[in-house]
Each structure stands twice: as structure tokens, then as C-alpha cells.
């Protein structure tokens, strides 16, 4: 029981962290919250399933399916940014509302193409391993590893690379960045693309871990947002910690109490934390 909580907690925390990191980056360069991340995630999950297991027509190798899915995920998020978020950057409220409506469109388009019934997806890898008497599926181990690899690469990328520094420059002061020759618009496009790719990875992982359905965008979206809120907008360290709080609370609820209450305690936690600290645990005044 405890082992299950531990491994499910670690894996879901890492997955939500990946989504949350996308949100944090998008917020830092655009000062808006993109509620479409759940939609990016869901589209990616369906595309991966279609490419890898789409019946007689398509059954690409998993590696190829993953790469194509990530590219399409980036393309979608960039199109959403170029399509309308860019026009609404000075109005965060409008971004909130429009991206929520966009998510509804995506949900129904997918339901129109693939039907509303949930579909199961094969795991990335079969089999299980036993470590110290605990048996866990290999799939979840792989997910955990991928999520952490991405997180570490991303943090290094942001702190070390030129593009990473450009992203930070734009997040601190877009005008100043412009003065030193960085085009904030290019940086935003790149960041949105990165956010789409991160969501795509999370979508593929979620799909292979459980199943896909047209309602699967809501819970990851809310949980990723809770993580960002509790962590304080724009703080990566805070996001890592709060992802684990939320992940473990969720895993505990699922295993010990009731599968359907997954997310409820995370929400309660958010409510309590926001009551006492209105900028989250690590947000600044």
C-alpha cells in the first residue's frame, strides 16, 4: 500500500510538474495564463494513440509516434499563441476566457472524430520490476525517469543556454530585453512551443499510464494550476515542491480513500493555502 502510494505519488508529481513548468514559463514571458495546456495534453494523447495504435492504417513505431506527437503538440500551442493569445496579451482576463473556450472546442472536435468513449492505450514498455520486494510496472518507472530527465534538462537549459537566458530576460523586463537585441515575440513563440511540447510529453505519459478520454484535460489542468498557484507564479523551486505535495496527496487519496476523490484534497489544500497566503507559498509580495 505504502509502496504504491510512493511510486504513484512520485510519478504523478513528476508528470504534473512537467505541465506546471510549461505554465510557469508561459506566464513568465507572457504574463498570462494559458488554460489550453489541458487541451494540448489531450490532443497529444489522442494523436499518439492514433499514430501508434490507429488500427490497420497506422501503427508507427512508438519512438516515431512520440516524436511526431511532440512536434504536433508544439505546432498547436504555437498556433494558439499566434492565433489569438498574442492579440490579447494586454488583457489576461480575455486570455483566461478564450483559452477555456478553446479547450471546449478541442474536447468536442476530438469527441466528433474519435467518439466520446474512453479508449485504453498500451503502455510504452511492458513488464515489471521488483525492487526490494516491491513490484512496480516498468511503464511507470519509465514515465518517472522521462519526467525527471525533462525537468533537469529544462532547468539547465533555462539557466545555461543563450535561449534560456533570453527567456529569463524577457520575463524580467521585455523592453530591456529588446534593447539588448532580443525579440520578445520570438522568445514567446519559442516558449509557447516548449510549453506545447512539455504538455505533449505529459499527455503521452498519462495516456500510456491510464487511458484517454475527451474529459481528460480538466483534472491535469486544474492540478497543474494548483501547483503553480501554491508554488507562487513564476517560481520553479516552488513548483517542484508543490507538485510533490499535490502528487502525494492525490496518490494517497486514490489508494487509501476513493478513486473518485482524486484531486479533491489537492483543491482543499489550495483553498486553505490561498486563504492564508494570497500569493502562494513562495510568491512574493
Amino acid at each position: 500500500m505504502i509502496e504504491e502510494i510512493l511510486i504513484v505519488g512520485l510519478a504523478t508529481s513528476a508528470l504534473y510538474l512537467v505541465i506546471a513548468l510549461g505554465l510557469v514559463m508561459v506566464y513568465s514571458v507572457g504574463r498570462v495564463e494559458d488554460l489550453s495546456v489541458g487541451a494540448y495534453l489531450m490532443v497529444a494523447a489522442y494523436i499518439y494513440w492514433f499514430l501508434a495504435e490507429g488500427g490497420p492504417y497506422l501503427s508507427l513505431p512508438k519512438g516515431a509516434a512520440i516524436i511526431i506527437t511532440i512536434l504536433i503538440g508544439s505546432a498547436i500551442s504555437i498556433s494558439v499563441y499566434r492565433g489569438f493569445i498574442r492579440r490579447l496579451l494586454d488583457n489576461p482576463t480575455a486570455v483566461f476566457i478564450s483559452t477555456l473556450i478553446f479547450s471546449l472546442i478541442v474536447e468536442n472536435v476530438l469527441a466528433g472524430i474519435f467518439g466520446e468513449a474512453p479508449r485504453s492505450v498500451h503502455p510504452l514498455v511492458y513488464g515489471s520490476v521488483t525492487i526490494g520486494g516491491i513490484t512496480i510496472t516498468l511503464n511507470i518507472v519509465i514515465i518517472l525517469a522521462i519526467a525527471w530527465a525533462i525537468t533537469i534538462i529544462l532547468i539547465t537549459f533555462i539557466s545555461k543556454s543563450y535561449i534560456g537566458r533570453a527567456i529569463r530576460a524577457v520575463s524580467i523586463n521585455p523592453r530591456g530585453a529588446m534593447l539588448v537585441g532580443i525579440d520578445p515575440e520570438k522568445v514567446r513563440i519559442l516558449t509557447w512551443g516548449l510549453c506545447g511540447a512539455l504538455s505533449a510529453v505529459a499527455g503521452i505519459s498519462l495516456a500510456t499510464h491510464t487511458s484517454i478520454s475527451t474529459g481528460m484535460w480538466i483534472l491535469p489542468l486544474i492540478l497543474a494550476f494548483i501547483i503553480v498557484m501554491i508554488g507562487g507564479l513564476g517560481s520553479i523551486g516552488g513548483a517542484i515542491l508543490s507538485a510533490h505535495i499535490i502528487g502525494f496527496v492525490g496518490a494517497f487519496t486514490m489508494v487509501m480513500i476513493d478513486e473518485r476523490l482524486r484531486g479533491v484534497f489537492g483543491l482543499l489544500l489550495l483553498l486553505v493555502i490561498l486563504i492564508f497566503r494570497r500569493r502562494g507559498l513562495f510568491g512574493r509580495e
Binding site: 495564463e33 489569438f84 492579440r87 490579447l88 488583457n91 489576461p92 482576463t93 480575455a94 483566461f96 476566457i97 478564450s98 477555456l100 473556450i101 478553446f102 471546449l104 472546442i105 474536447e107 468536442n108 472536435v109 476530438l110 469527441a111 466528433g112 466520446e116 475527451t214 480538466i218 486544474i222 494550476f225 494548483i226 498557484m229 507564479l233 476513493d258 473518485r260 476523490l261 484531486g263 479533491v264 483543491l267 482543499l268 489550495l270 483553498l271 490561498l274 486563504i275 494570497r278 500569493r279 502562494g280
Partner: protein, 317 residues
């Protein structure tokens, strides 16, 4: 936008006349439209009440709530559960439902008043999802996902129900519109523009927000209890659906946030779009097309249709 200055006495009479004409025209509808359409209009009226009640809070103050279903849900569940478990008569359970919405709305929102922007919106969305889950989990009491049915309705038949909802929607619309025209509405509008300036003008913004929440909760509660006792069946999907939340928001934004009349018109417009699409696009495609239309209108005309109509009239003069 209701003009730049508050409406003075003389203008008020002229506007009151417009309201009466609008009401009279709409009350003639049952003589011209088929009964099938009346049921559609009844739903449009409910949607209009929900959208306007959302507007007096979120549209005016800019505190965007994604948790309006929470208010609808607690009042609907309160009334139905009282009837189902305690045999409370309808005429008592409905006002109690509204009261619960008011108390619950203000009580839960009280701590969130300190929270601004995205934090507030997420908080309200959290509240809504939280309650949906709880209602589903409390199966033995609430009927779980299947819900409860077989409780009394207020009236029977399309025509009486149409008139009932018409009176309701006009009462709510007029009351909220009037509030929006007073200095109270002006202050809510100012809170959206710059909350610090309002506070710096010696106005207690917390109290204004609280009052607007209270009014929003009461209007939403009234809509919800009549809605649920029109349907005669209650399940989580009838009040807690994300689709309903989106309808409320799309109606408000394409009609024009912070105008009350805009969301009223918006509710009718989206109902017509949704019904019109029924023949063209089946199932999920219908909703996808409708949401896409809503999104395009919102992106191109963010201030809404009512604002554009006003501008058109002003230019002509």
C-alpha cells in the same frame, strides 16, 4: 456600458418604457412560435438569469469566476435534498435554496476576496469541481451520478412555464441592470479598472465586492431553484457541467461583460446558434462549432455585441 454618467431621472423614464416594450413583445411569443421552440426559449431564459448573475459580479468587477456552477449547485441541491429527505414543501425549500446560495456564496467567497486575478479564478473553479466531486461521492444522500428525480415542479406545460421564466428573467434583468446604473454599479466598474484607486477614494472595496457577490449569489440561486424545479430531475451534470459554465461565460462575453443587457441578449443568441446548428452539425460537432463561433466573436469584438449596437446608434445620431 450604460453611458458615462449615471442615468438621471428623465432618462430613466424613457428607459423604463423600453423595458416594458421589450417585455410586451416577448410575452407575445407563445402566439407565434411552436411549442417546441417555447421549451428552447425557457432554457434561454434560465441561461440569461445565470449569465446576468455572473455578470454583476465577474463582468462588473473583473473578478472572473469559473465557479458559478458552485452557486447554482448548492442552491439546487439544497432545495431538492430538503424535499427528498425531509418532505419540506416546495414553497419553503426554494427560498431556503436561495438562502443557501447567498450564505454559501458569501461564506466561501469571503476568504477569496483578498485573492486577485488568476488566483481568484482558479479558487472558484476549484470550489466548483470540489463540490461536484463531493456530491457524486455522497451517493446515498444525493443519488450520486444518477441524481434524484420525481420531485415536484413549479408549473406544468410549456406556455405557463414560459411566462413564469419570462417574468423571472425580466425581474432579475431589471433589478441587476438598475444596480449597474447606480453609483454602486459605477464603483464595481471602477474596481475592474483599478482597485487601488477605488480604495484610495475612501471606498471599502471589500464591502463592494461582497455586496456584488451577494447579489450575484441571490440571482443565481433564484435561477437555479426555478431551473431545477422546471426540469424535475437533478443530477451533477444538470448543474455542475463545465458546458453550462461555458454557456454562461460565452453568453456574457459575446453579449458584453458589465452591461447586464449584453449577457441577456447573449443567452438568446447562443441558444439560437445552438438550435440552428442542431440540423447542420450533429453531436459534439455542434458544440465545437458553437464554441468556435463564440471564440471568434469574442476575439474580434471583445467588448461584446451590446457595445457594438450602442456604438451604431450613437453614430447615427
Amino acid at each position: 456600458m450604460g453611458g458615462n454618467k449615471p442615468v438621471r431621472e428623465t432618462a430613466l423614464k424613457k428607459i423604463a418604457l423600453r423595458w416594458i416594450i421589450a417585455f410586451a413583445v416577448m410575452s407575445l411569443l407563445p402566439f407565434f412560435v411552436p411549442h417546441g421552440w417555447l421549451r428552447v426559449l425557457i432554457i434561454a431564459n434560465f441561461l440569461a438569469i445565470f449569465a446576468m448573475s455572473w455578470d454583476i459580479m465577474s463582468g462588473y468587477t473583473g473578478y472572473i469566476s469559473f465557479g458559478h456552477n458552485f452557486l447554482l449547485g448548492i442552491s439546487a441541491y439544497a432545495s431538492v435534498l430538503l424535499i427528498h429527505h425531509f418532505d419540506v414543501p416546495l414553497y419553503l425549500s426554494m427560498p431556503i435554496g436561495v438562502l443557501i446560495a447567498a450564505v454559501g456564496g458569501v461564506g466561501f467567497v469571503l476568504p477569496t476576496l483578498r485573492v486577485r486575478g488568476p488566483y481568484f479564478t482558479l479558487f472558484t473553479l476549484g470550489l466548483f469541481i470540489l463540490f461536484e466531486r463531493i456530491m457524486i461521492t455522497l451517493g446515498p444522500i444525493t443519488g450520486g451520478t444518477r441524481g434524484l428525480f420525481g420531485f415536484p415542479t413549479v408549473l406544468k406545460g410549456a406556455v405557463p412555464n414560459f411566462y413564469l421564466t419570462l417574468v423571472l428573467v425580466f425581474a432579475v434583468a431589471f433589478a441587476l441592470w438598475y444596480l449597474g446604473q447606480t453609483d454602486f454599479g459605477r464603483v464595481l466598474n471602477a474596481i475592474r479598472l483599478d482597485e487601488d484607486v477605488v480604495e484610495n477614494s475612501g471606498l471599502d472595496t471589500t464591502r463592494f465586492k461582497l455586496l456584488s457577490f451577494l447579489m450575484s449569489s441571490i440571482a443565481a440561486g433564484i435561477g437555479a431553484v426555478f431551473f431545477i424545479h422546471y426540469l424535475g430531475a437533478l443530477c451533477p451534470r444538470s448543474v455542475f457541467a463545465v458546458f453550462l459554465l461555458l454557456n454562461i461565460i460565452i453568453a456574457s462575453v459575446i453579449g458584453g461583460m458589465g452591461t447586464i443587457i449584453g449577457p441577456f441578449m447573449g443567452a438568446y443568441i447562443i441558444t439560437i446558434i445552438l438550435e440552428g446548428l442542431r440540423a447542420v452539425a450533429p453531436g459534439p460537432w455542434r458544440i465545437a462549432t458553437y464554441a468556435a463561433i463564440g471564440l471568434i466573436i469574442f476575439i474580434l469584438r471583445p467588448r461584446g455585441i451590446f457595445f457594438e449596437i450602442q456604438r451604431l446608434f450613437r453614430r447615427r445620431r
